[in-house]
Amino acid sequence: MQQHSNQINMEQRGAITLFDIRGDLTSFSEPFLSEAYQNANEQGAAKILLKIEKEAYINSGGIAALIQILAQSKRNNQNIGITGVSDHFKKIFSMVGITRFADIHETVENAIEVMS
């Protein structure tokens, strides 16, 4: 099923590594996020911006996958930001505490300015 995979394009924006994440965030996203993170980490990324699609469906499996990235990046002293989050998922991310480990930014441009 097409909705069980993600496409993640990585792009360097100055000091920031942008993950352009296409697709929903569910338990199926875990290997896609993990692989992208491993790549970025090997390339020495210090600041990572996760861009989600505004209309993405995110469930607890996707939240667990995100938290795994946050945990690894904390261990590796990397700074993580998230953008493209709908109002509903801003609320959800705050409820589960994701916002204590990653800032949510309104736009990519805004994120890059703040994170640089």
């Binding site: 469930n59 607890s60 938290i67 945990a71 709908s86 509903h88 589960v96 505490g97």
Partner: protein, 141 residues
């Protein structure tokens, strides 16, 4: 079944919860639930349906999940039914600090989100045809 109830019956396969979400959203929109609460309802239904598939029905491909919805006295009632025997042990509220430090596994988010988003929840109604999670959202909350 009440004459204004709708019911959707799903294959026990991850991904199919989307169909229940779409159904619930459409029903709630018809009843006039505000858009931000429709998003809450979708997440509640999604998490309860995934739990029904994974935990209640233990991933069995021949099992079914049933989601029913109605609207009475300005309350949208949702019931998610699986063929299991209920929640044996409730995990503690997930602690993200501990999960990040690898001191806890990242579980318990499903039930946590359901409890946070619903105006009312009842777990563990077990009948001879299965286990039901009942959730409610007030129209004017």
């Amino acid at each position: 079944m009440s004459d204004k109830t709708i019911e959707v019956n799903l294959a026990n396969q991850l991904g199919y919860e989307r169909v229940a979400m779409a159904c619930s959203a459409s029903f709630a929109r018809m009843m006039g639930l505000p858009p931000e609460r429709i998003e809450d309802l979708k997440t509640m239904v999604s998490e309860a349906a995934i739990n029904a598939m994974e935990h209640g029905n233990k991933g069995r491909s021949d099992a079914r999940v049933t989601v029913s919805l109605n609207c009475r006295d300005n309350v949208i009632n949702v019931a998610v039914m699986d063929e299991g025997d209920g929640i044996k042990e409730f995990p503690p509220k997930p602690d993200i600090e501990k999960i990040i430090e690898d001191l806890e596994s990242p579980i318990g988010f499903g039930l946590f989100l359901i409890s946070q988003l619903a105006d009312q929840v009842e777990f563990n109604e077990v009948t001879d045809i299965g286990h039901v999670v009942k959730m409610a959202i007030k129209m004017d909350s």
